[in-house]
């Protein structure tokens, strides 16, 4: 059993505090992805779990052991580094077997475990090459192989795919997911790519400036972001966010946009907003669509005619740019047809999927 628990974990470099007391509980065999913008402390957090950075405060435990002062070798973890960190003077075989050799396993055991890992990752034809003679994707695989041969309690990944080109990244992403299904282990995976986070994670941890902003399943985070930061971070293209003021109408509260458009709010916000409150209204591009080219809204829609300023055909869908509520927003067109810039089209905004955030704090006003 290898749960990982972080409790009030702090990291300071001198007087500078980088990680501000984060709490996180990771279940046995769970795949948790840490995401956030550059410099938010993801790697630092991962390296603290690994034991490569000392922690300045709090507790980290793996399984039922507090590991605060244990060196990396005593934690039974393995880690895949962004730049792979293969030992350049060792062949693939030696790289894979190094950890077992250090652990004084017998040559027969090493041989067997190394071959097993090589089979899983398709490395068998490359065993006697040096890392310098491998492609980026192959090095990546060796790095993963080195991590799995030791049969660790926890796998740590620090942006393992960020040095690969887009196509290979997609392939490796799938392989990592398959690997996790096959070799069930607890995984903590760091990335700043929200697509990787969404596709791989059982749960996503969104970090910003050394704080955890939200923890939840990918769908949770997508549907119920707790603040504007998470709303903007998860989802591609990002959620449209418009400034608005709350107005009260007999039928319920509305958000009044800069151009005077009134958006009736979904019932879950009733009673949670006050008149004249400054808010941010958000909706995802897929909830604004040309009539007949979207997922039909279950409830109320706002219908309007708008001029398209730009269209981006992506094949199965086309992204449309138009002015709405005082700024440019993105709409998504399913079953697309060719749209010329300047074309005027009828749009529908699905009011059932509106998000409302307090403008001052950025926090979601949803119950």
């Amino acid at each position: 059993m290898a749960e990982v628990h972080l409790s009030k974990v702090v990291k300071r470099y001198g007087a500078l505090e980088i990680v501000h007391g984060i709490d996180l509980d990771i279940a046995h065999n769970e795949f948790v992805v840490l995401v956030g913008p550059s410099g938010c402390g993801k790697s630092t957090t991962l390296r603290m779990i690994a034991g490569l950075e000392e922690i300045s405060g709090g507790t980290i435990s793996i399984g039922d052991r507090v590991v605060n002062s244990l060196p990396p070798r005593a934690r039974n973890i393995s880690m895949v580094f962004q730049n792979y960190a293969l030992y350049p003077h060792m062949t693939v075989r030696e790289n894979l077997g190094f950890g077992l050799k250090i652990a004084r396993q017998s040559p027969a055991v090493i041989e067997q475990r190394v071959n097993e890992a090589a089979d899983i990752l398709g490395l068998s034809p490359l065993m006697d090459r040096l890392p310098a003679n491998l492609s980026g994707g192959q090095r990546q695989r060796v790095a993963m192989g080195r991590a799995i041969v030791r049969n660790p309690d926890v796998f740590l990944f620090d942006e393992p795919l960020s040095n690969l080109d887009a196509k290979l990244r997609g392939q490796m992403r799938v392989e990592i997911k398959k690997l996790h299904q096959r070799v069930k282990t607890t995984v903590v995976y760091v990335t700043h790519d929200q697509v990787e986070a969404m596709t791989l994670a059982d749960r996503i941890v969104i970090m910003r400036d050394g704080h955890i902003e939200q923890v939840g399943t990918p769908i949770d985070l997508f549907e119920r972001p707790v603040n504007t930061f998470v709303a903007g971070f998860i989802g591609s293209p990002p959620m449209n966010q418009l400034e608005a003021m709350i107005g009260s109408r007999p039928a319920g509260p509305v958000a009044v946009l800069a151009d005077g458009t009134e958006l009736p709010l979904p019932p879950e916000f009733a009673g949670r907003v006050t008149a004249d409150q400054a808010v941010i209204v958000g909706f995802r591009p897929e909830n604004l669509y040309p009539a007949g080219h979207g997922i039909p809204a279950a409830g109320q829609t706002l219908d309007m005619d708008r001029t398209v300023s730009l269209s981006e055909p992506l094949g199965t869908e086309t992204m449309l740019f138009l002015d709405f509520g005082g700024r440019e927003v993105q709409a998504k067109m399913l079953n697309p047809r060719l749209v010329a810039p300047g074309e005027r089209m009828p749009f529908k905004l699905d009011l059932g999927h509106l998000h409302v955030f307090d403008r001052a704090s950025g926090k979601s006003l949803r119950a």
């Binding site: 690994a50 990396p72 580094f81 792979y84 960190a85 040096l130 040095n163």
Partner: protein, 287 residues
């Protein structure tokens, strides 16, 4: 060879010829010393000079080792050779061990005063050693280190350690920190990670540092001439001066000894050179 221009054969030969002339100019003095070491005195003094030894002989070597019947007393060259070897080898080994640790610390750890210290090491190299010879002499005589091998070893350490630190720092810096991290995750202690991963990768750098350190102490003359007196500690370059008397210079003996100085240096350089193959550090991490 540049891709934009294919060389004509005549150009290639012209370049080779120019190189040959340049090298010849550089090498002829050395060659002359070697030739002189193998010929009798009459030939050395001959005018016009004789290029190819007509009567090659090993007598000059026999003489400086005192193997000839004493028509002239032999010099204690064997002692000088032993002193040189002991002093150079010891100071090189210590300088590499200490310098390697220092270089590693500079490359890997943060500590207070790091920059100032590093700069200090560099500045110490800008002071010509001989400028310090008088205070050195005074201090060494107080400490009783005059004319001792230890005294010379300490001096050469002071010269070589900063340089070794500087050189190895650069080599360790080229090795990504992640490799040591990965090794520690793979179960190594920091110490094991160093010896199993970083040391092998820095080996070429350490080898070049060792050559520099050895040659510096093997060839050093000025300070050794001040500090050493007798067969206790006198090194080969200092011993070379034994061949100059007030009015005469024993060119034959001196050349023979010069050859003895050059040979070990050449041998060592050839041995170590094959470790200088760089490039092993690349490929393990995405560059």
């Amino acid at each position: 060879m540049s891709a934009r221009m294919i060389e004509q054969p005549w150009q290639r030969w012209a370049i080779r010829f120019a190189l040959f002339v340049a090298l010849a100019i550089l090498c002829i003095p050395g060659l002359w010393v070697v030739l002189t070491a193998f010929r009798p005195n009459v030939e050395i003094m001959a005018r016009p000079p004789v290029w190819i030894p007509q009567h090659p002989t090993l007598d000059n070597f026999r003489r400086i080792f005192g193997l000839l019947p004493a028509e002239q007393q032999g010099l204690p060259v064997a002692d000088y050779f032993r002193n040189s070897l002991v002093i150079s080898v010891t100071s090189t080994i210590i300088a590499i061990l200490v310098g390697m640790m220092g270089g590693y610390a500079f490359a890997r750890f943060r500590f207070r005063g790091k920059k100032a210290m590093f700069l200090g090491f560099m500045l110490s190299r800008t002071v010509p050693g001989i400028a310090l010879s008088l205070p050195l002499f005074i201090v060494w005589s107080r400490l009783g280190l005059i004319d001792t091998k230890i005294g010379m070893i300490v001096i050469y350490l002071a010269i070589n350690i900063p340089f070794t630190i500087w050189l190895t720092d650069g080599f360790f810096r080229q090795i990504p920190v992640d490799l040591s991290d990965a090794a520690q995750i793979d179960g190594c202690t920091r110490w094991q990670a160093f010896w199993k991963i970083e040391f092998p990768l820095a080996r070429s750098g350490l080898a070049s540092a060792a050559i520099f350190a050895f040659l510096t102490s093997w060839n050093e003359y000025a300070l050794a001439a001040q500090i050493t007196r007798t067969t206790n500690a006198k090194t080969m370059p200092v011993g070379l001066m034994d061949f100059t008397a007030q009015f005469t210079v024993d060119w034959a003996g001196m050349s023979a000894m010069a050859v003895l100085i050059i040979i070990p240096a050449l041998i060592l350089t050839f041995i170590v050179q094959k470790h200088l193959i760089a490039g092993l550090t690349f490929g393990g991490v995405k560059g």
